[in-house]
């Protein structure tokens, strides 16, 4: 059953085995199935992530209730047939809020990880490429920023730019930046000495072209490994900051926000308020972490433990 709009479906997976063998990493059917076979835990993590993505994208159809509609008749409702995960202090359906919370977590998670890793990669690779005084100054700045725990850095940035979903993405991304720059710089340093970079320079390529086409292209593997490691952390950070009231603001459904206030104060009377959002956070972070570990092992055998 070929849908007309999806010719791209063929391209990557149906590549002949010969080219797949030439391309390192995860491209090509043989290496994809090999990954699935060799890393069952990572595969389970990936499956959970796909499920979460599906639930987040189709939240409107999956969730039984509107996540922000208040129903004072159902305050602190026990989990049952009407509300599978119970209802909160405003009578809002916990299951629906967990489902919509997945959307918030994934938007903030992917947004901040991709932004932070990419900006950091740009800084790190450029720093390695230019070397000299630029590199020295950038690295000293990175050293200083790394001496703060990520959450403290993110909180300080929130103090400066304010709260809200978009700003939270920026705050987490900026706190990832120095760490990403550190990792990618060290990967890029060895590439700088490669003959093809020298050749490109001799041919008169611009700095920008060399950085993008020759250097950045060759640090894709460590970039991906770092990105998946950031994803789990970003979700945890979003939850922590929202829990502290410095992240996503009410009434947006977010897991960390759901654990704030009534979930703590009425933990004995309504334990479901605390249990389900926490399980969602743990499962999401776990899924990204195990996938990240497997990806790291697959892409960078030197780091295998």
């Amino acid at each position: 059953m070929q849908t007309p709009g999806s010719p791209a479906r063929r391209s990557i997976l149906d590549e002949p085995a010969s080219t797949a063998a030439l391309t390192p990493g995860l491209v090509g059917r043989s290496s994809l199935t090999r990954f699935l076979r060799r890393y069952p835990v990572g595969t389970a993590g990936a499956a959970l992530i796909v499920l979460m993505l599906a639930v987040a994208v189709f939240a409107e159809w999956v969730a039984p209730y509107d996540p922000v509609v208040v129903d004072f008749g159902a305050m602190f409702g026990r989990p049952g047939r009407a509300h599978w995960f119970g209802s909160d202090a405003f009578g809002r359906d916990v299951l629906s809020r967990v489902i919509f919370g997945a959307r918030t977590a994934l938007i903030v998670g992917f947004g901040s990880s991709v932004l932070g890793a990419t900006l950091g990669a740009a800084v790190g690779v450029a720093s390695a490429y230019f070397g000299g005084l630029t590199d020295l100054l950038v690295q000293r700045l990175v050293d200083i920023l790394i001496s703060f725990p990520i959450i403290i850095l993110a909180m300080a940035i929130v103090a400066i730019i304010g709260v809200g979903t978009g700003k939270l993405v920026l705050a987490i991304a900026l706190s990832f930046l120095p760490r990403a720059a550190r990792v990618l710089r060290s990967s890029a340093l060895s590439i700088r000495e490669m003959v093809y970079v020298e050749a490109a320079r001799a041919l008169g390529c611009s700095h920008g072209r060399i950085i993008v086409r020759h250097m950045a292209a060759n640090v894709v593997a460590p970039y991906l490994v770092m990105l998946t490691a950031f994803l789990g952390q970003a979700i945890l950070l979003e939850a922590s900051l929202s829990f502290l009231g410095l992240g996503v603001s009410e009434p947006t459904p977010a897991w960390g926000l759901m654990l704030r206030g009534a979930a703590v104060d009425f933990v004995q009377r309504a334990p479901w308020l605390a249990i389900f959002p926490g399980l969602a956070i743990s499962a999401a972070v776990l899924a990204f972490n195990v996938l990240g570990d497997s990806l790291r092992d697959a892409l960078d055998p030197r780091l295998r433990t």
Partner: protein, 317 residues
């Protein structure tokens, strides 16, 4: 060796100074005037004259370099300025809460170390076996479960099973150790679990690396007992990265305390940071950020010293 320690110690000063400059500038990047922002956040109508007076009081009408010099000169006298919110000296606000957070951090570190080294060793020795798998699950879960949620689960557990709630007010360890530990053991466990997960993984992988070394094979060939090989040959050499992780995570514990103190309603440094940031108390934020960075730099220094103690090959020339 003493000269190395001294020069390493003195090197911390320029680093800390650079941190101070960065923090100082960071706080002043804030769009709009700090005073205006803070007074208007209060919700009341303020005249430009009040704002002007407030700026003069806080010394914000002086040139930047002058403000920085004031801050630095104050620091030499251990004066970090006054909180913009409470009007109390920043050093006093921090001092009031330091004992609780430090004790919590030390307890979490002890718990983490006591868990991580035996568990990591067990996992490495029984690599691939069920013990290894159990330890791996334990540590992977530790990295995924938010410490504040674990804290909430502890409270829930204590309330439902024992109808018991840990004491809510802080008593110093020196005054009443029992009440003190009854209150702090739960948050310390919640934070320590995550911390131990990081250290367990590190112990396992460092030990696996060492167990592959030739001298370990030689030790086996000599017919030494497993206990002796582990303790004398392997663990000692595997400890370097573990000490690094434990030391640096200690400095980063404040990140975990920020959320966990909130759950247990503890009035520590973490809660102070959250309050300072929610109230945009810039002088307080400035002082706290400096404290966090100084803690990290100091731990780095201490980790370097511990290296020499563990590994006599490390010589400081």
């Amino acid at each position: 060796m003493n000269r190395y320690i001294l020069s390493r110690f003195l090197l911390m000063i320029p680093t800390l100074l650079a941190v101070a400059v960065l923090i100082f500038l960071l706080v002043r990047v804030v769009p709009g005037d700090i005073v205006e922002l803070r007074l208007v956040l209060g919700g009341s109508f303020v005249t430009p004259r009040v704002i002007e007076a407030e700026r003069a009081r806080l010394g914000l009408n002086k040139p930047l370099w002058n403000q920085f010099a004031d801050w630095m000169l104050g620091m030499l006298r251990l004066d970090l300025g006054r909180s913009m919110w409470s009007g109390e000296p920043v050093a006093r606000e921090i001092g009031l809460r330091l004992e609780l957070s430090l004790q919590l951090a030390v307890m979490a570190t002890l718990i983490a170390t006591a868990l991580a080294i035996p568990l990591g060793t067990l996992a490495a020795v029984h690599r691939g076996g069920w013990v290894d798998n159990v330890v791996q699950v334990f540590s992977v879960a530790g990295l995924a479960v938010p410490s504040f949620w674990l804290g909430i689960l502890f409270i829930l557990f204590l309330l439902t099973v024992f109808q018991y709630l840990p004491p809510l007010t802080f008593t110093s360890l020196w005054v009443d150790p029992k009440a003190n530990l009854a209150q702090l053991i739960w948050p310390a466990l919640a934070v320590g679990y995550r911390y131990s997960a990081v250290a367990t993984r590190m112990t396992r992988s460092a030990l696996l690396e060492v167990l592959r070394e030739d001298y370990v094979r030689t030790a086996w060939a000599k017919g030494l007992a497993q206990q002796i090989i582990l303790r004398r040959h392997a663990l000692r050499n595997a400890m370097m990265p573990v000490v690094t992780v434990i030391g640096l995570e200690f400095a980063f514990l404040i990140g975990g305390l920020v959320v966990t103190e909130q759950v247990f309603n503890l009035n520590g440094i973490g809660k102070l940071i959250v309050d300072a940031i929610s109230q945009r108390d810039y002088t307080l934020i400035q002082g706290l950020m400096l404290l966090v960075a100084a803690g990290y730099i100091l731990m780095n220094f201490l980790v370097d010293l511990v290296y020499a103690w563990i590994d006599p090959r490390v010589s400081y020339q």
